[in-house]
């Protein structure tokens, strides 16, 4: 399609994100909440909806929902009731889902995002509410019967609903990336879209730019990665523009995304609106969120990525790029923060974390919590370089790996033992320079005739002969003196 045609239109997208809470037990019963167990092994009589069973709310799930709300600048609802959403499906044992309809635990709020191309925007949230997951229906190839696994039934979820503020597919990407980072910072969800612990549906419409009215929206499901969400929105946008350009109208429907063919296909039309007969859950007392409780939860909150970003750029004076990389994962950010408590050389600390430490972790697919060196030991390395006792190159290439192998010593002792400490004593450096200049007599002549570039060659040879121990500043000065003499 011609770019000028596409540019006549504005994309309008709202997202519904489901995040499975990392609680030990289920939302309303006590069996384990774990991924990957054998089918139908984590199923109590409550999950199976046996007659006579009752739900009991998991307070941890409430706490997690409140944490997410606080992290997203939402107002927290004081008086929370649960509701039943009624519909029949074999993977929904009670015939209703326990959710929140009229009193979502978090209202309003927003998330600030920055896309890869640098566009900043604020995506407003409509609400975050608590609910329970359904089981899984498995339709096996070639089988007429459907199998049901109820391990997932009753797993606590939060559903994050945005306002229709997303205007570009890449904003959806940035938004989901930020959601995933937040839930991981808060340790309330593992944020794994491939395993379905983070799921996203998109309500997509287009309209002519300048139009105030919203176009008819289409719900797109089944996007199991953040990249696929962006691709699906892009694809669906083009499909809708094409229909409108041909004079057609958009059908209000639910479509599935097929990542292999990068296409959406119709699942069902929404003409007959589902009536879920929402109904206040009489088996659960209301959850009251008091000011005191909010204070307690706030006190438990870890520093959030945007707070750290601001601290790293303004207080530590780091480039935005550094701050972005360092706040990507909470554990890395906190490790970095520990280093910065012990040294003022923030840029050096950032270089160490983003460079040698991250490379080491990536190479071994290791988490920072398994990394053998303490932040204070990184500070030792920074200080050795700072004091000119060792060059950054030697320090990162030789001392750092050795230090990892022997973390029970100090960096200085190890550097000494490895004979890596730079020497600035001229009585040590002078004979080396003399030897080099003698070996390269022809080049010395050339230098004296004006080829000043040869200084680098002499310097390299001196460093090589000095096995990295020669203080380069002193050596440069001495070479020049001796050549000019």
């Amino acid at each position: 399609m011609d770019k000028s045609v596409i540019e006549k239109y504005e994309l309008v997208v709202g997202l519904e994100v489901h995040a499975q809470m990392l609680t030990k037990s289920k939302a309303f019963s006590s069996e384990a909440n774990e991924y990957g167990a054998l089918p139908n092994t984590n199923v109590s009589v409550i999950t199976l909806a046996h007659p006579g069973t009752l739900p009991k709310a998991n307070r941890k799930a409430v706490e997690y929902a409140v944490k997410m709300g606080l992290a997203c600048n939402c107002s927290i609802t004081e008086y929370n009731i649960y509701d039943r959403k009624n519909y029949f499906y074999p993977d929904l044992p009670k015939g209703y889902q326990i959710t929140q309809d009229k009193t979502p635990i978090c209202r309003g709020g927003y998330i600030d995002i920055k896309t890869k191309s640098g566009r900043r925007s604020r995506i407003r949230l409509n609400r975050i509410h608590m609910e329970e997951d359904a089981g899984k229906s498995l339709h096996l190839e070639g089988e007429t019967e459907t199998l049901v696994d109820l391990n997932r039934a009753g797993v606590p979820l939060i559903e994050i609903v945005t306002e229709p503020d997303i205007r570009y597919p890449e904003e959806a990407y940035a938004f989901l990336t930020e959601i995933r980072r937040l839930v991981r910072y808060l340790e309330i969800c593992d944020g794994n879209m491939e395993e379905g612990s983070l799921r996203c549906d998109a309500n997509i419409s287009v309209r002519l730019k300048g139009s105030k009215e919203l176009g008819r929206k289409v719900e797109v499901k089944n996007m199991n990665s953040i990249t696929n969400v962006q691709r699906a929105i892009e694809r669906e946008m083009l499909r809708q523009i094409e229909i409108i350009e041909k004079g057609g109208t958009i059908a209000s429907e639910t479509r599935m995304y097929d990542a292999v063919n990068n296409q959406t296909y119709s699942l069902r039309t929404k003409e007959a609106l589902n009536d879920y007969r929402y109904f206040p859950e009489p088996d659960l007392p209301p959850i009251i969120i008091t000011e005191e409780y909010l204070r307690e939860v706030r006190a438990m909150m870890p520093p959030l990525p945007n707070e750290l970003f601001i601290k790293f750029t303004s207080e530590f004076g780091l480039p935005e790029y550094d701050a972005g990389v360092l706040t990507d994962k909470k554990e890395i950010a906190l490790y970095f923060l520990e280093i910065c408590k012990l040294t003022q050389n923030y840029k050096a600390a950032s270089n160490w974390v983003m460079g040698p430490i991250k490379s080491y972790l990536n190479e071994l697919t290791m988490e920072i919590k398994e990394f053998p060196l303490k932040p204070s030991q990184i500070v030792e390395l920074i200080e050795l370089v700072e004091q000119g006792k060792i060059s950054f190159a030697i320090c990162s290439q030789r001392l750092f790996p050795a230090f990892i192998e022997n973390p029970n010593t100090t960096a200085l002792a190890l550097a000494e033992k490895m004979n890596l400490i730079q020497v600035s004593d001229t009585s040590f450096i002078k004979p080396i320079i003399e030897e080099v200049l003698a070996n390269w007599a022809e080049k010395v002549e050339a230098y004296k005739k004006g080829n000043k570039n040869l200084l680098g060659l002499f310097m390299g040879e001196v460093m090589k002969k000095g096995k990295g121990k020669v203080d380069p500043k002193v050596a440069t000065k001495l070479i020049q003196e001796m050549l000019d003499a």
Partner: protein, 473 residues
């Protein structure tokens, strides 16, 4: 044989009888009264072997405090490894995998459960004619209904086939059959007894209740049934008083109210009104103040009750779908027919009527007109009732407008008249208040008449003491 647990306890202490003999007696009575259709299942062998064990414990002086008490459980109360089907085809073959914690506490005190008794399907009904296993007959007059929905429970006690029955009461299901069979039926405050293990009909109304021959046994059993339970998030955390030790006849002057309109209306059977008047005179003669009170909201109680209970029932009964347990239609060919046929074939007509009514009042177009409005009316009725009770110790009414009616009297054509029979019992249920029905006489056909006494929240102890006093003379 024994008219109270007190007698049984004494006889056991004096070694005049063994628990096994008591069980054998009840088993004979069950056999003799088989035509009443009160029992869905008799646990004969199990009850006998448990009796043997308890006899041994008694000899060793290690028996529980309810040793020798023989009870039945309504087919809506879970008893582990025993069948449970709410008198419905849809739970065909279902076996409970746990015991209701309230019943468990009684079992721990050495109660013997002798059988599972019939009721209206999913506790919906007031005549026990809605059971998939046939009507229960009233032991006083087998051409008449025993009331419902705990009809089997009432008959099992009234016909002396057990001492106590655990029933459930949503809008009168314990009190009304107790009135129809001449026994005591007690519904405690909502949330006093854990609902875990009770099949839900209308969750914000349902409570386990007691059917017994007298108030003393009721009070004793309540000590075990009531109290907190980790499986029910709505159960009261209040401590449980020793009800059976708090039954002294009230010595101070009580203020008792009766609803004037109820004792004047033609809709209540003449002999019932007369029996209540006789009781009023007796209370006055004993120095108590008995005053008429107005409660004009009475007429709204019944529609409010039926809108809210059917709404709750329509979602509570969604789980019966044939997917995981119970009846599954052999005629299902896909997911949709699995649901439609299983539920069409599995539920009886009254249950279907209530599910449809409840689905209707919760549907988007009618939600506010019916459900929201009924919720508001419920709140108003409760507030008004509490105001009324603030000025009173107890409120009395007849339990039912008529005595036990003939089997088959009500059908599809006049089902609303049958609903009307609940008019006097639904108000305490709407408010969640404790209420008891006690026998206060017989009508001209020798059919029992019940008096309903309602008290304030959690005043079970004074209510039971008053009921014991009111049953005397």
């Amino acid at each position: 044989m024994y008219s109270s647990y007190q007698e049984i306890r004494k006889a056991l202490q004096k070694k005049e009888v063994r628990v096994k003999e008591i069980v054998e007696y009840y088993l004979r009575k069950i056999e003799e009264t088989k035509h009443l259709n009160a029992y869905l299942e008799v646990y004969a062998e199990e009850a006998l072997s448990r009796a043997d064990e308890i006899d041994k414990k008694l000899q060793a002086g290690k028996a529980g405090n309810l040793a020798g008490m023989v009870i039945t459980h309504k087919d809506v109360i879970c008893y582990e490894n025993h069948r449970l089907q709410a008198s419905s085809k849809i739970l065909d073959g279902f076996v409970a995998q746990f015991t209701a914690p309230s019943l468990q506490r009684m079992l721990d005190a050495d109660v013997i459960v002798i059988g599972r008794v019939n009721c209206d399907e999913f506790a919906m009904g007031g005549s026990n004619e809605n059971s998939a296993f046939g009507v229960v007959r009233n032991n006083i007059d087998p051409t008449r209904v025993p009331g419902g929905s705990s009809g089997g429970s009432a008959v099992s006690v009234s016909a002396d086939t057990c001492l106590i029955s655990l029933g459930s009461d949503t809008g009168g299901s314990v009190r009304q059959p107790a009135a129809f069979t001449g026994i005591v039926g007690f519904k405690p405050t909502y949330s006093r007894i854990s609902r875990y293990g009770l099949i839900a009909y209308a969750s914000s109304f349902d409570t386990i209740g007691v059917l017994a021959k007298n108030v003393e046994d009721t009070a004793l059993v309540m000590e075990y049934l009531a109290g907190k339970d980790e499986y029910d998030a709505t159960v009261s955390q209040k401590p449980v008083p020793p009800y059976s030790q708090l039954l002294e006849i009230p010595t101070h002057q009580l203020k008792i109210g009766y609803i004037k309109e109820v004792l004047e209306t033609e809709a209540v059977q003449k002999e019932i009104k007369e029996a209540v008047w006789r009781k009023i005179e007796q209370f006055r003669a004993d120095g108590h103040e008995v005053i008429p009170v107005d409660f004009p909201l009475y007429e709204y109680a019944l529609p409010t009750y039926y809108i809210l209970t059917t709404a709750e029932a329509s979602t509570n009964l969604s789980r019966y779908d044939g997917v995981r347990y119970g009846y599954r239609s052999p005629n299902a060919v896909d997911v949709e027919t699995l649901y439609k046929r299983t539920r069409s074939e599995g539920f009886g007509p009254e249950v279907k009527r209530r599910i449809m009514l409840g689905t209707f009042v919760l549907s988007a177009s009618y939600y506010d007109a019916y459900f929201t409005k009924a919720q508001k009316v419920r709140r108003i009725i409760r507030d008004e009732m509490l105001k009324l009770l603030n000025n009173l110790d107890f409120l009395i009414t007849p339990t039912t407008p008529t005595t036990a009616f003939e089997i088959g009297k009500y059908n599809e054509e006049n089902v609303l008249e049958l609903y009307y029979a609940d008019i006097l019992t639904v108000t305490p249920s709407l408010c969640g208040l404790p209420a008891i029905s006690i026998p206060i006489g017989l009508d001209e056909k020798n059919l029992p008449i019940g008096l309903q006494v309602t008290a304030k929240y959690f005043e079970e102890a004074s209510l039971l003491a008053f009921a014991k006093y009111a049953m005397q003379n």
